[in-house]
């Protein structure tokens, strides 16, 4: 907190308070108060980003390095062994199958969550029906429930169905989320004027066509945000896939975890696995990071 103090103090002192009056026009746009943040702001931000980025780079350095790399205090230069460790990962776990499974699971879950959330969110936001408010409160309340704690009966159900070891068992429990319904309701109640729905109805649209022609186009930005978050959620899920899948048919997360099994752990192989799983996401992040950021920031305002 002291760091914060110094950094913020440095900034506005550039403009003495008495000067505020003649600068009214500029300050209304929020520029006047702390227009030129000091060097300290950049220093702290730079250090934070360094702390956030270095463990990733370090993983790559160790995954590509020799035994000597580990002896260095802060190793920075990658070694020649990355491909060797990548091959070791490919031998140890069914990496490509795991990657494929993760893509299938995340895609199916995302499509399902976005579809059903938009439908339900639209009904809650714009249609009138008996019990609407009560059901919506129920949806909001379920958002706080840690459903993860129901894995024991869920496992029993999957065993009865014979789905243990099958990715169906991972997909089905994630097909809907209360958060998705809540997000779409919040968004749609704001963006669609009731008159538009009335107009569509007067023009002879039935309910589903009104939904398709009025709600879906309006809902697109929120659908994109929801899709992004749902994909992330399904992609990172670990506890349940680990319980219900086996080592031969894993998702990416459980396959990575299996790299660590056994008494002797070769950390350069483990880290090579972590790097392999992260590289594709990093490229996606560089391409679509802006959307992710605006999604998080927009989601916060709604949520």
């Amino acid at each position: 907190m002291t760091a914060l103090g110094t950094s913020q103090q440095g900034a506005p002192s550039a403009i003495p308070v008495p000067q505020e009056e003649p600068r009214r026009r500029r300050s209304r746009r929020g520029v006047g108060l702390n227009r030129r943040p000091g060097f300290v702001v950049y220093l702290i931000l730079g250090l934070s980003v360094l702390i956030f980025a270095y463990p990733l780079w370090w993983s790559f350095v160790v995954a590509s390095g020799t035994n000597a790399t580990r002896g260095q205090t802060l190793p920075f230069i990658p070694g020649p062994n990355f491909m060797k460790n990548v091959n070791a990962v490919l031998e140890a776990v069914p990496f490509w199958k795991a990657l494929g499974n993760s893509v299938i699971v995340s895609t199916v879950v995302t499509i399902s969550v976005v579809t059903f959330s938009t439908l339900a969110g639209y009904a809650f936001a714009k249609l009138r029906f008996k019990g609407r408010d009560g059901l919506m409160i129920f949806v909001i309340a379920t958002m706080a429930i840690p459903t993860q704690l129901g894995i024991i009966p869920l496992f029993m159900v999957m065993r009865t169905l014979g789905w243990v070891g099958d990715i169906k068992a991972v997909i089905v429990p994630m097909l809907v989320t209360a958060f998705g319904v809540f997000l779409m309701r919040q968004y749609l109640s704001g963006v669609i004027p009731d008159e538009l729905i009335e107009a569509a109805r007067v023009d002879g649209c039935n309910q589903i066509r009104t939904f398709w022609n009025v709600a879906v186009p309006a809902a697109r930005p929120a659908m994109a945000i929801l899709a992004l978050f749902t994909f992330m959620l399904a992609w990172t899920d670990f506890l349940w896939p680990m319980v219900v899948l086996n080592a031969q048919n894993p998702t990416l997360q459980t396959a990575l975890a299996n790299l660590q099994s056994g008494y002797y752990i070769d950390y350069s192989i483990v880290l090579a696995g972590a790097v392999m799983a992260t590289i594709p996401v990093l490229f996606l992040y560089i391409a679509a990071g802006k959307q992710l950021i605006s999604g998080i920031m927009a989601g916060a305002v709604k949520g």
Partner: protein, 356 residues
């Protein structure tokens, strides 16, 4: 329908009567369809959510309570009704309390620094800095690394004193004795909390940043004119204004933090198969629940633990909600100004009404 028309006698009067009746009937039929569409569609639209959630979300949770009241083996199934015996067993079990202590310790070590760090970073990003998007992307970078990969990376960063590791390299370079990061309780908690902090600080900073950007700049200017320095402005303008978002972040962090699993599970698998250390020094409650259910296959006891944890999460979530509400409400400056603003708006309206 056409056959019905054809059946009628060929007299003109009757024919028009038939046509009339037919028109009326077809209208009401369409109306009825449309009314059905109007009434049933909402339920049709919300039913997929409720049906699927009921089956895979709610039912397992409620059924967990039923399982908890029985002697129940994971594979051979239900044995005998035992009432609250499993709950009594869990409450008297030292490993259960051990896991609760560990969970709460890791939770505190991760949530508090995380919130402070996120507030600092958000406040810095809220300045008029150059290359905004680049900084934001840099801060969010760890979020795209999955918890499993984070756990793998940091279980390699933090190792025992005998093994060369990044953390101990730094500790030794600073002139301290190397630390038993996996063997000892507190160091292992710090290491696991570091994983959580590393992944979530930037994410929460962005959420807080978006709330900070919604704070009207006039408030800061008014405070500055009143002589409030940067720190004073942060505590008496920024914090109260972003209160709802702060509560949101705290509650989310609580629900996540108390269910932490991947990080302790993968922190040290070479010892005792990854149940949280040889002495369970970093076994969290979800990890203990997993051990009970899928290692020892005692579904009854595991379910009792699940419900106790469920109650704990709900109550800590509520306590957090109340505390963070009160904590930031204390300043109350923004509330006052909001009330003032409302009063001003009312006065303005009255003035206009009088003028008219």
């Amino acid at each position: 329908m056409s056959s019905m028309l054809g059946q009628g006698p060929p007299e003109a009067v009757v024919e028009t009567e038939w046509a009339e009746a037919e028109r009326r009937r077809s209208l009401t039929w369409r109306q009825r369809l449309s009314r059905f569409d109007l009434k049933a569609s909402p339920y049709l639209y919300i039913s997929p959510f409720f049906i699927v959630f009921g089956i895979v979300g709610l039912f397992p949770l409620v059924y967990t309570l039923y399982v908890a009241l029985h002697d129940w083996d994971l594979l051979s199934g239900k044995e005998a009704f035992v009432g609250f015996e499993n709950f009594a067993w869990a409450l008297g079990d030292q490993f259960f309390w051990n896991s609760i202590v560990n969970t709460v310790s890791i939770f505190l070590l991760s949530t508090i620094p995380q919130l402070i760090g996120a507030l600092v970073i958000a406040a810095l990003l809220d300045q008029q800095i150059r290359a905004k998007t680049t900084w934001r992307m840099g801060v969010l970078l760890p979020y795209v690394v999955t918890p499993v990969a984070v756990a793998l990376i940091f279980s390699s960063v933090f190792r025992n004193a005998g093994d060369a590791s990044l953390a101990n390299n730094i500790v030794e370079a600073l002139g301290f004795e190397p630390i038993e990061w996996k063997r000892e309780r507190l160091p292992s908690h710090i290491a696991i909390a570091t994983m959580v902090n590393w992944r979530w600080t930037g994410y929460n900073a962005l959420i807080l940043l978006s709330a900070m950007q919604a704070v009207p700049r006039d408030l800061y200017e008014a405070a500055a004119i009143d002589g409030a320095g940067a720190i004073k402005r942060f505590f008496s303008v920024t914090l109260p204004s972003i209160r709802p978002t702060l509560i949101f972040v705290v509650v989310t962090a609580t629900v996540y933090g108390l269910q932490i699993f991947a990080e302790p599970r993968l922190y040290d698998v070479s010892n005792a198969g990854g149940i949280g250390g040889a002495d369970r020094q970093f076994q969290t409650t979800v990890l203990y629940l997993w051990e009970l259910a899928f290692f020892r296959r005692n579904s009854g006891r595991a379910s009792a633990v699940a419900w106790l944890l469920f109650l704990l999460i709900i109550s800590i979530g509520l306590i957090n909600f109340v505390i963070s509400k009160r904590l930031v409400a204390g300043e109350g400056e923004n509330q006052l100004s909001r009330r003032e603003r409302r009063a001003l708006a009312r006065a303005e309206k009255d003035r206009k009404a009088v003028a008219r």
